[in-house]
Amino acid sequence: MARALVTGNYAAGHALAVAGEANRDARGCAGGAYPITPQSEIIEYLRGFDFTKGRIVAVESEHSAMGVCIGTSLAGARSFTASSSNGLAYMTENVFAAGYYRLPIVLIAVNRTLGPPWNIWVDQGDSLALRDAAWLQFYTDSHQDLVDTILLSFRVSEDPRILLPSIVAEDGFVTSHTQMVVDLPEQALVDKYLPHCSVPHRLNPQHPTTVGGLTWPKETEHHRIEIQQAMDRVPEVLAEAVNEFEKVFGRRPHGALAADHTEDAEIVLVACNTMARTARHVVEDRREKGQKIGMIKSKMFRPFPRKAMADAIGSAKKVAVLDRNHSPGSGGIFWQEIMASLHGKPDVMVQDYLVGLGGGDVTPKIIDEIVDDISGREQAVEPLWKEVAA
């Protein structure tokens, strides 16, 4: 392992590049690239990387960046790109197309607030708006988690039991532009970890097919059912990918979620991305003071691990969900999913906290206040706005 002090975007660019390079003895790697703050350093890294067999096409829009990925994946290459915020919104039509085509593309979403009004800071609303596309979604809490999850996502997405694309999300600026010491995986190990990419339905002149043509309702319904069945297989395939990762790299990344101190917890916090790291400090602090509190880092959002989430919440009676996103007219998006996960546990009180929207800094003090609120709360109310912006 090469340990290095790098930014999140550098780490993501490196992980994509070595994953792409690992397919050099098969059909190579490729993708489209279009800049947007705060992900631009990722596509700059890829455009500068000297691939043995690869091409990153500098296109005119995010819509075409995903269009190129669809073409390269349909031609059998390992395919990837990155975007943020309104770039993801502009890309959306082809994001849906890639999922419905069953193409194992990996997209790095550097989370940024959707505009207008324009705001470049972190908010998970951009990638969560793509939750109904047939994509896996992972939310990462650190530079290392980001690198490891990118490699996991190629392995899971390209698995013949899955064949669905993956979004790997990191926090804009908080992760993308800060530096941490990261184990940057070496090429030889990535070569060992990632099998060659095989797209069984790739365009093949020897076996001509029309991919994505017209279907009747019955075939369309089956297509959607097959996607759901593939989603249902993800937990098992992900667990295998994590085990194999540990064998090859000697480190064990988190799977669908990571639970800390939940076994005897009365209160459980649920958070994703870097908020989860901050929450972990608060929970450790409270534990030392004797409070029975635990936390869950929610990493895999699609498929949402409803059973694993309910199991991890266990016997806790109160759950505080931290949502750095907002679905107007409803509330936090993770909250909705956790409520659905707990339909068999009507006695659990789940309170949603909308926090850090538009990139407000979610400090330990803010999370402490949330813990105080949930500790004294007898009844859940509508999602609470927890303003943090200075």
Binding site: H63, G71, L74, G213
Partner: protein, 299 residues
Amino acid sequence: MTTAEVHAECACHDAILRPGNTNCAGCGMSIGLQWLDQALDGKKPILCIPACCGIVTAGAFPTSAYGVPVAATTFASAPAVASGVTSVAEMNGEDTLTICWTGDGGTYDIGIATLSAAAERNEDMIYICYDNEIYGNTGGQRSSATPEGVATSTTPRGKREVKKDMMAIMAGHRIPYAASLSIAHRDDFMRKIRIAKETKGFRFLLMLSPCPTGWKSEAEESVDLIRHAVECGLFPVYEVYDGVRYRINVEPSFKPMGEYLEKQRRYTKIAADLAALQSYVDRQWHTLHGLEKAFPADL
């Protein structure tokens, strides 16, 4: 009957366009796709077809009237997807011919940014627009390829704006080859496909494609209508090399347009339409003759 038996019985099973397709009678695509196949002389392309009549042509899953691989792309994305396909073929050392087959909506309107970008990158592909001058697949609405005066479902009183000059726009990208295709001039059509096949980089071909459904014309008159359009100067048949060397392939006789308009019930105010279109034709040929004289392909 098994697939193998069908193939044995039907000698054209690997043709680009096979029998059983859903094209309307008199559709320009039926001729265009067959001539494309014949001119390619055994070279089988990969097609990228966006949302347009051209993908409906295939029929419904699990059958397809296309005998070559097809990516059915989103509306604006055919040249982006084709860029991906051709990139992977090239880096794997494969001699794959990638062709975008698109309508005028996907070319002149929603897909123009994608098209422009692929042309600017000089991606190795042939882009063919079958231009029927309307959104045919959605019921005949105006596009920016619709000529002035034409009544469509969204211009019931006739379109007020002139047709966009797509050949000039593509020539402005300085691509290796841009040419217009007439289904009434077979030798010229076939020659241009062969040139496009042998040229590297981005090649743009524009085919005026009769649409009896949208043009409200008779199916058996489709080829004659295109001959009329060429002869009266409405559809110039020419080619541009590297965006700067021009050759007019069919010098029109500039016969009156009346007969062309009268054979199509999409022209509802013939007298006014004639005046508008004559002005369009005059300006178009003034420019084109000037360009050919100043920048001839033969020098």
